[in-house]
């Protein structure tokens, strides 16, 4: 009912930014997300419906028209749509239109994202992430669900010196805090 107004979206990290001389930290803008579960035989159908090819190789992602599909497991993807800013979730609709067997759950608000960039980005993330983030082992486009300190994150490398850290909303200020410490340490001249 219009007179009671329409709810506005408030991101958990709204206004957060920080970092150091070598690392920039900022909250990512709002996005639509789904957790997508699909059997191998239906991957093609969902790829078509979503307009982005679901990658089937571990630790890889694919992007098309502002939609990114991240391989999380053999039948699991996180699909992020950065153009989706309105209410509702176009990804859910698109998946449903595929007509193929799948499970899509709207997690647009479960996750929030932190953008980590700069020459010290990998070092900052390694303050809490045990994975090898060298370009050789974790090239641009690589993604993985992993551990960051005491919380779980999904890590996506968007450029040589830029990462997207997807984290559950109630863990996001912890993640931001640890990234801030990592960023400070990454700026220390050895």
């Amino acid at each position: 009912m219009a007179d009671l107004g329409t709810a506005t979206r408030a991101l958990p990290l709204a206004g957060f930014h920080g970092g150091s001389s070598t690392v920039r930290l900022e909250a990512a803008p709002p996005a639509e997300r789904i957790s997508l579960r699909v059997r191998a035989e239906d991957v093609a159908a969902l790829s078509g419906a979503l307009g982005v090819d679901l990658p089937v190789k571990p630790k890889t992602s694919a992007s098309a028209n502002r939609r990114t599909a991240l391989w999380l497991g053999p039948d699991e993807w996180l699909v992020i749509d950065e153009s989706g800013t309105g209410v509702g979730n176009g990804l859910m609709q698109a998946a449903q239109n595929s007509g193929a067997l799948h499970s899509a759950a709207d997690v647009s608000h479960r996750n929030t994202a932190i953008l980590v960039s700069g020459t010290g980005a990998a070092k900052a993330i390694n303050a809490g992430c045990p994975q090898d983030l060298s370009l050789k082992e974790f090239p641009v486009g690589a993604c993985s669900r992993t551990i960051f300190g005491k919380v779980e994150i999904v890590l996506l490398r968007t450029a040589e010196d830029a990462f997207r850290v997807e984290v559950w909303r109630s863990f996001s200020d912890y993640a931001f805090g640890l990234l801030s410490e990592g960023a400070r340490d990454a700026a220390v001249k050895v």
């Binding site: 709810a7 209410v87 709207d106 608000h109 863990f171």
Partner: protein
């Protein structure tokens, strides 16, 4: 600067050492100010000023000096402070670098280092033999804890723990590399050059400020025709310039763990006078290395002889380091006592620097010919086949008593320092930590790496490779590359011994120290053997040999040899104590790293947290979550606030944040079938648009979790779990889905945080939310109790549940989390205007208890079945299978007299029971009493106008109406057993 400020110490040798005279730093030791050169360690700086006495030993409080020049130091442990908050006990003077303004103090002495009353213990030492405390202090019984122990505790210990919270910060970083090289001496540097050239990623780690290892003291080494130390600095400069190489100095590899995982601690600021605020004090590196090259070198051993612990007695290599690296002479009239050629070179260097050498006393009859010839050439008096059998000097050695082996022709020789060497012990600590197996090298009396347990190789001195060119070849090979490098030493070294020296044998009673810090002597070790300690571990524990903060780097081999001799068994048959991490002590703060304060453990907050805080909410910790506990108005205490909230919810309505409840989206054609297997109730009968309360057990049949499950569509369920249970329930479900029921077409997704959940409960609940809800009719007829529907709330796609945990008409509005604050604000504004309240978890607990609704984890523990919890109705009798179906049938789970959940009413309505109170039938029975159960929930119920309680009671349901007792600390409370519903027994309100 004034003359005194420029006084760098009377024992500085002009033009010796590698420091820059222009750069000095002032520091204090026990209140007296000294000037040091930048690059000095506290040890070298004090020695430059002729200060040898720096500490007192652990047990006998004997005066002690500086024994070594490195991390193996057992004696010179000092209290080092930058300011009050940055005080560090037990710092090794041989490792701590001097910086301007640092304050140093000696430890374990009172009133002063020179006059320490504790030294009285030394006189009593005949009584304080190893393990004496096991044999006395037993009478009277209480005296140990009340009298003896406090005394012993005060006497023991070394430094004083910090009294203030540490103002410094520490950081931590994970890293990966192809090759990690521990130690940057000749071997480590060579291996690094070799490996780096192949392009692999290399970590080169060394604990000292500069690389070079033994080259710090060994001035006789030439590499590539260059002075060894200079070659090392040039080599590391080349390595630092390579993109694939990381060089870490002042960094110790303290632990070698499973699967190529190593712990490193980098000391970042402890050597700086004015560290920047962003600098961590220390950094923990957690490195996963594909391969490890151990180039950890070896440690010189002291000689074990009578009174070998006086200040001024030190390792020959240490004296050489102080001279060649720091430009400091350890004395003016120096004696040498050795069983190894290396000490001769120390004498040569000192002699050339103008220090007079009293004599080289060599217990061997045949030292190396080359060193002997050189000694003669330099006019140094060498006594072969002789030993030092005693020393004198109270606070510093003043003479050594020398005798021909066998004891004849003893004489005193005046010295102001005595440098000793019994040979070298390979540093196999990290190899051993990696679970490699050692072998004993009979000929050289040392343990060497034998069988490797991980992808790791030892090179150089730690591998027993003494010859320099062999060492270089070995290191090049270990690096995996090729390299043209040659090197030579001025002398070949021979000799070495372990165990007690002349005059300290089994027939003697002298104090010949093996472990300096713990005051363990050769005779203590023999005593242990005499008392039946035949395993080296027993000997270690009985004498505490090797258990001091140096972890036996100097003492272990000597102790082993003395024990072996006493036992008449070869050394390998006596065994070697295990090498444990850390190699040298590591600060807690470093290991903790970032995990402190806010980052110790994530505090999870709901989307509405800030709004609730603004309304004055008090919060409670539930798992990781911060939940609004109650909302006190001005002047209200918890009791008053909760009473008001309880009343208001039932009279008008209340708004509650239920966002923390776990949520799992269960999607797929076989969803209902899956839930049938995971919950005790049946789900295929649940129609879309309806919800149902579900109980989950594990195979053992005990209540595991509960929650309301809504069916949104044939193939989509919205499952809720307890707040604390969410992660384990999902894990439990995934386990069965993936490994037991993989044929089912269904998927699980955690949506706990997708939804902000706003519960509106109470008679006016519908009226409150009505205007916000679009797309469905929420009238009682169209949307009765236990309904669920997707709709729009304030223009946002939402899920609306008609359900209640209060017994009132209730709704739970699920909106996408980012919209939570806006919707909460709007609903609360309207609710408030209608006289409703905000309520927290405490009121929720009271209201549900009034209705007899249980809380899993409070009214149940891991031993309660659904039937025990009066939830038997939720266990399907028809289903042929579900998780728990068999466990529930086990004898003990179906026997009579099990503890059952019932209500309790106190005889006097005003008395509120204590949660956790135990229940008995006869309060006057003798202890130990027979306890029937305990109170699980107890509250003052404003709505009932009396106290209420729930309890688990043996055979409870058969005791309804009976009187039982709850004996508390100060009173015994009489209670009547009742059913579990205290309010609105007919349950009409929920359908309002």
């Amino acid at each position: 600067m004034s003359a005194s400020a420029r006084d760098l110490g009377a024992f500085r040798i002009k033009d010796a050492g590698r420091h820059t005279p222009a750069r000095t730093a002032r520091f204090t030791f026990d209140g007296k100010t000294y000037t040091a050169m930048e690059g000095d360690t506290v040890a070298s700086a004090l020695l430059a000023h002729g200060v040898h006495l720096v500490g007192r030993s652990f047990k006998y409080h004997r005066p002690r000096g500086i024994l070594s020049a490195g991390p193996e130091e057992p004696n010179a442990l000092l209290d080092v402070s930058r300011d009050a908050g940055r005080r560090q006990p037990n710092v090794r003077a041989t490792v701590q670098e001097v910086f301007d303004g640092v304050r140093i103090a000696s430890q374990n002495r009172w009133p002063s280092l020179k006059h320490d009353v504790g030294a009285f213990n030394d006189l009593l030492s005949p009584f304080f033999a190893a393990g004496f405390y096991y044999k006395t202090f037993m009478w009277p019984k209480e005296a140990w804890h009340k009298l003896y122990e406090p005394f012993i505790r005060r006497a023991a210990g070394l430094g004083e723990a910090p009294k203030e919270e540490d103002p410094d910060h520490y950081t931590s970083r994970y890293a990966h590399c192809d090759v990690l090289i521990a130690g940057a001496g000749v071997a480590g540097l060579t291996a690094a050059l070799s490996a780096a050239a192949t392009g692999v990623s290399v970590f080169l780690v060394d604990e000292q400020p500069e690389v070079g290892g033994a080259l710090h003291f060994d001035a006789g080494t030439t590499i590539d025709g260059q002075n060894g130390y200079e070659w090392a600095q040039a080599a590391v400069a080349r390595l630092k310039a390579m993109p694939n190489v990381t060089v870490l100095t002042r960094t110790t590899v303290f632990g070698y763990y499973n699967h190529g995982f190593l712990g490193l601690v980098e000391r970042v600021t402890d050597h700086l006078a004015r560290p920047g605020r962003d600098l961590p004090r220390e950094r923990l590196w957690q490195v996963r290395a594909k391969r490890v090259v151990l180039a950890t070198g070896s440690i010189e051993r002291h000689m074990v002889f009578a009174n070998n612990d006086r200040p001024g007695i030190m390792l020959a290599s240490a004296a050489r380091t102080f001279l060649n690296h720091h430009g400091v002479a350890v004395g003016r009239q120096v004696g040498v006592y050795t069983a190894h050629d290396s000490a001769y070179e120390a004498a040569f260097d000192l002699k050339r620097a103008g220090v007079s050498i009293a004599a080289i006393v060599d217990c061997r009859s045949h030292p190396g010919d080359a060193v002997l010839a050189e000694a003669r050439a330099l006019g140094i008096d060498v006594l072969t086949g002789h030993s030092v059998i005693n020393t004198s000097g109270r606070l510093r050695v003043s003479s050594m008593t020398v005798a021909r082996n066998g004891g004849s022709n003893a004489r005193k020789i005046a010295v102001d320092a005595l440098i000793v060497s019994a040979g070298w012990t390979p540093s196999v600590h990290l190899f051993s930590q990696s679970r490699g197996k050692l072998r004993f090298d009979e000929q050289n009396q040392r343990f060497l790496p034998d069988i490797y347990a991980q992808d790791c190789v030892s090179v150089g001195a730690c591998n027993g490779t003494d010859d320099l060119s062999d060492l270089i070849d070995e290191a090049i090979a270990a690096g995996g590359g090729t390299l043209a490098l040659t090197g030579e030493n001025s002398f070949e070294w021979t000799g070495g011994m372990i165990g007690a020296a002349e005059g300290a044998g089994p027939d003697t009673v002298v104090k010949a120290f093996v472990d300096f810090q713990h005051d363990v002597t050769a005779k203590d070790i023999r005593l242990a053997v005499r008392e039946g300690m035949h395993s080296i571990e027993h000997i270690k524990r009985f004498t505490t040999n090797g258990m001091a903060s140096d972890q036996g780097k100097l003492s272990n081999m000597h102790g082993l040899a003395i024990a072996a001799e006493m036992l008449g068994r070869p050394i390998p048959k006596v065994g070697l104590t295990t090498f444990r991490a850390p190699y040298t002590p590591v600060t807690y703060g470093t290991l903790v790293g970032h995990s402190r304060g806010d980052l110790f453990d994530p505090a999870r907050k709901t989307p509405m947290h800030a709004l609730e805080a603004a309304e004055g909410a008090e919060f409670e910790d539930v798992g990781n979550w911060k939940r609004a506990w109650y909302f006190p108005k001005r002047g209200e205490d918890m009791h008053a606030a909760v009473n008001r909230e309880c009343r208001t919810v039932r009279d008008v309505a209340g708004v509650f944040d239920a966002s923390t409840l776990g949520k799992i989206e269960v999607v797929g054609p076989d969803a209902a079938q899956f839930l049938n297997l995971l919950y005790t109730n049946a789900w295929d009968t649940l129609k879309p648009g309806k919800c149902r309360y579900g109980i989950m057990t594990r195979e053992d049949g005990f209540v595991y979790d509960d929650g309301v499950v809504g069916r949104l569509a044939e193939d989509r369920f919205h499952v809720t779990t307890t707040t604390g249970g969410a992660p384990r329930v999902l894990h439990h479900m995934e386990d069965y889905l993936q490994t037991e029921f993989p044929h089912l077409k269904v998927w699980l997704t955690s949506t706990t945080e997708q939804w902000a959940v706003i519960a509106v409960q109470g008679p006016k609940a519908r009226e409150i939310i009505q205007p916000f809800v679009e797309g469905i009719d929420i009238s009682n007829e169209a949307f009765p109790h236990m309904s669920v529907a997707e709709c729009t709330v304030m223009g946002v796609p939402s899920r609306l549940f008609r359900m209640s945990f209060t017994g009132e008409l209730g709704f739970e509005v699920n909106v996408p989390a980012d919209y939570g604050p806006a919707v909460w604000k709007a609903i609360w504004e309207r609710a408030e205007s209608m006289g409703a309240c905000l309520y927290g978890t405490e009121t929720m607990h009271v209201l549900r208890a009034e209705k007899g609704y249980i809380i899993v984890g409070q009214d149940t523990d891991g031993t309660v079945t659904p039937d025990d919890a009066a939830l038997g109705w939720a266990v399907s009798k028809k289903k042929t299978d579900y998780v728990g179906i068999r466990g529930l049938k086990r004898p003990d789970l179906v026997r009579d007299g099990r503890k059952q959940l019932v209500g309790l009413l106190t005889k006097s309505p005003d008395v509120v029971l204590e949660e956790g109170g135990q229940i008995v039938a006869d309060p006057n029975q003798p202890k130990p009493m027979t306890m029937l159960g305990h109170v699980t929930s107890a509250y003052w119920s404003e709505n009932c106008g009396r106290s209420i309680a729930l309890a688990l009671v043996a055979g409870g349901r058969s005791l309804v109406g009976k009187t039982l007792y709850v004996p508390l600390k100060d009173q015994t409370i009489e209670v009547e057993v009742t059913d579990m519903v205290f309010f609105d027994k007919e349950g009409g309100r929920i359908h309002g």
